[in-house]
């Protein structure tokens, strides 16, 4: 059953230069207990999407223009702020990109953790401290009683991210949103945090939305992947589909730019040429047309509709039109290697 349904979500920022359509017409859902990955390069709208879900878009300049976000049937977009506060931290937990700046430097870890519990569940300080200690142990922090009395600067980056995870899980939220939880960390720490999240996913049975620009990160954790580009979803499907049978040229590009150990020596890492579209003046047709090696005339004039490939797998690309020339993922590799 769908826990979260996002339907036709559009979020814009109104800057002095004009309206920046950071997210336009995004629809997806997350099932109960499911982990979904959202991938895409910087500025593709993935963070704005989840911040819209949390209603954390700074307003002004940002605004949710359109659409519905239903959590267990309730539309969050139209919820009064007071009600929304009861959702944040309690029903949806969130982890941010930079653990170094995401914790308040002048409050102890204990204070920052217990306030969530005291506020949402109204339990006493000691009980809250006990629960916080339990969760710190769960995320692999030893000596939790002592740690609770310490301040964020006494923790390393990886440890702080563990604290953030514990804090987000304190009220047993139905949904955990992780906005690039590993990007700011060292590679070895990244692996540890991912391992921890995988571990927790089995333990605490929450749904997870994991945002990242790194396909490798989602592969191990998520069962479904959403690929975003220029504020739109260009392809989504099961992890299997996205890796084995990707259909959108942007997904191809993403896959080709990830180093793989099992690849043959001759295959190269291929960057995606060019830069993302200017969302201040979004292109009329497909957002990726300007960078797409297979762009056709129609790509510049009309946005492609979604083509359903199977029950879970869909992509928005004109190449999937029955009249379009057949181009497949592997065929391209050779051609580009030659040129």
């Amino acid at each position: 059953m769908a826990l979260l349904e996002v339907e036709n979500l559009s979020t814009s920022f109104y800057t002095y230069a004009g309206e920046v359509q950071s997210v336009s017409g995004v629809s997806f859902h997350v099932d109960e207990g499911e982990a979904v990955g959202i991938v895409g390069e910087s500025g593709c709208g993935k963070s704005v999407t989840v911040q819209s879900i949390m209603r954390l878009i700074p307003n002004p300049p940002g605004k949710i223009k359109n659409g519905q976000i239903r959590l267990a049937g309730r539309d969050l977009v139209r919820l009064p702020e007071k009600e929304m506060q009861k959702i944040r931290g309690k029903e949806i937990g969130m982890i941010f990109q930079d653990p170094m700046t995401s914790l308040n430097p002048v409050l102890t870890i204990g204070r920052q953790m217990t306030e969530v519990l005291q506020h949402h569940e109204g339990i006493g300080k000691n009980e809250a401290l006990g629960r916080a200690a339990k969760y710190l142990t769960m995320v692999g922090i030893s000596n939790p009683e002592r740690r609770l009395k310490q301040y964020p600067h006494e923790f390393s980056g990886g440890m702080r991210q563990r604290v953030m995870i514990a804090m987000a899980l304190l009220c047993n939220p139905k949904l955990l949103i992780a906005d690039e939880p590993t990007t700011a960390l060292d590679v070895t720490i990244q692996a540890q945090i991912l391992e921890l999240m995988k571990d927790l996913k089995d333990k605490v049975n929450t749904s997870i939305i994991l945002i990242t620009h790194d396909l490798g990160v989602v592969a191990g954790l998520c069962s479904r992947i959403i690929v975003m580009y220029g504020g739109k979803i260009v392809e989504m499907g099961s992890t299997q589909d996205i890796f084995k049978d990707p259909r959108h040229p942007y997904t191809w590009g993403l896959l080709k730019s990830v180093p793989r150990l099992d690849a043959s020596k001759r295959s190269k890492l291929v960057p995606i040429v060019g830069s993302p579209p200017d969302l201040l003046n979004p292109p009329k047709g497909c957002g990726f047309a300007a960078r797409c090696p297979h762009a056709m005339k129609i790509c510049e004039t009309q946005p492609p509709a979604y083509t359903d490939l199977n029950e879970k797998h869909r992509a928005a690309c004109w190449l999937l039109h029955p009249d379009a020339p057949k181009v497949t993922f592997n065929g391209i590799d050779e051609k580009e290697a030659r040129s």
Binding site: L56, Q85, G93, L103, V106, H119, H153
Partner: protein, 310 residues
């Protein structure tokens, strides 16, 4: 901690010694000397005066004597107030100055942070514009103008408060208002900037994501962080209050340190000028030390060790 404090106190004593030395030689470098502006005195009278004030001793002996006495908080006799020492004047004036100064400081801190927070929370809305406007007026009009206008219109014309003098609590109102106008304005501006900066920090977003209500976010999460940069300016504020008092006391005719100081400048009463300068410098150094200690109370990242910072 103890080592740090001892070090700081030693440094403070060093600073005060330097201030004493500098003021002493500055004052003695002034051509003419204390009685030059008077009518030409009889040589006999001049000699008596010189002997009375040890003006004939070699400069260095005068200096060491002064230093010795200053170490015992004895700043010597005044030139102009017959039979009174600088100490008498300080003893008489300091409590008055301290009363006005501390009240103005408290008023400035309360009003300033309050207005600043309101302005930051209502950024670009009416409340923000009103607070910013008031603050801008406060930093644009010299305090002696504010004091004069208050004194004339509120005191003489409207008879709301006594326009001059000392003794009645009512007489405190206008001096305190006039003295705190500038600090209120500055603190408002600083709090606003600092608050706005803090409100855009990641940890505030975290607090929001935890579902905390607005007042907890403002008072628990934002305010404490916003105060830290404000502390840096507490030293200059204190200095302003101390020196702003010179003008305010003079205008409202309050016999505090400030009035004696301004009068002494006109009279060239050097012992009083020196004594007051040393007193003010000592107060400043002490205050700065307190501010540094306050840092450690507010910001856990700062420990009182030999080097400041993380």
């Amino acid at each position: 901690m103890v080592r740090y404090l001892l070090g700081r106190i030693l440094a403070a004593i060093l600073v005060i010694w330097l201030v004493i030395t500098l003021t002493f030689f500055l004052m003695h470098a002034i051509p003419g000397g204390p009685f030059a502006s008077d009518k030409i005195l009889l040589p006999q009278v001049q000699a008596n005066i010189n002997a009375r004030y040890h003006l004939n001793d070699p400069l260095f002996k005068q200096y060491t004597d002064y230093l010795k006495n200053a170490a015992h908080f004895d700043f010597g006799p005044t030139f102009r107030y017959q039979g009174r020492s600088v100490n008498d004047i300080i003893k008489e004036g300091l409590p008055r100055t301290a009363a006005i100064g501390s009240m103005a400081t408290i008023l400035a801190l309360i009003c300033g942070t309050f207005l600043g927070i309101i302005a930051a929370l209502r950024q670009n809305k009416t409340a923000d514009y009103v607070a910013t406007f008031l603050a801008t007026i406060g930093i644009s009009v010299p305090s002696f103008v504010i004091a004069t206008l208050l004194q004339y219109y509120v005191g003489f014309k409207l008879h709301l408060f006594p326009p001059i003098g000392w003794g009645d609590p009512n007489q405190l109102v206008m001096p305190v208002l006039a003295l705190s106008a500038y600090p209120v304005a500055q603190i408002t501006r600083l709090t606003r900037t600092s608050m706005l900066d803090v409100l855009h920090q990641d940890y505030i977003r975290t607090a929001k994501a935890k579902g905390l209500p607005g007042y907890i976010i403002v008072f628990r999460h934002a305010l404490k962080n916003a105060i830290i940069p404000l502390l840096t300016f507490m030293g200059p504020f204190f200095a302003y209050i101390l020196c702003g008092n010179f003008v305010i006391e003079y205008i409202f005719n309050i016999p505090g340190i400030g009035q004696y100081f301004v009068t002494s400048i006109t009279n060239r009463d050097y012992p009083v000028i020196m004594g007051t300068t040393i007193l003010v410098a000592t107060l400043m150094v002490t205050f700065n030390l307190l501010v540094d200690i306050a840092y450690t109370l507010v910001d856990p990242r700062i420990k009182l060790t030999d080097q400041k910072g993380v």
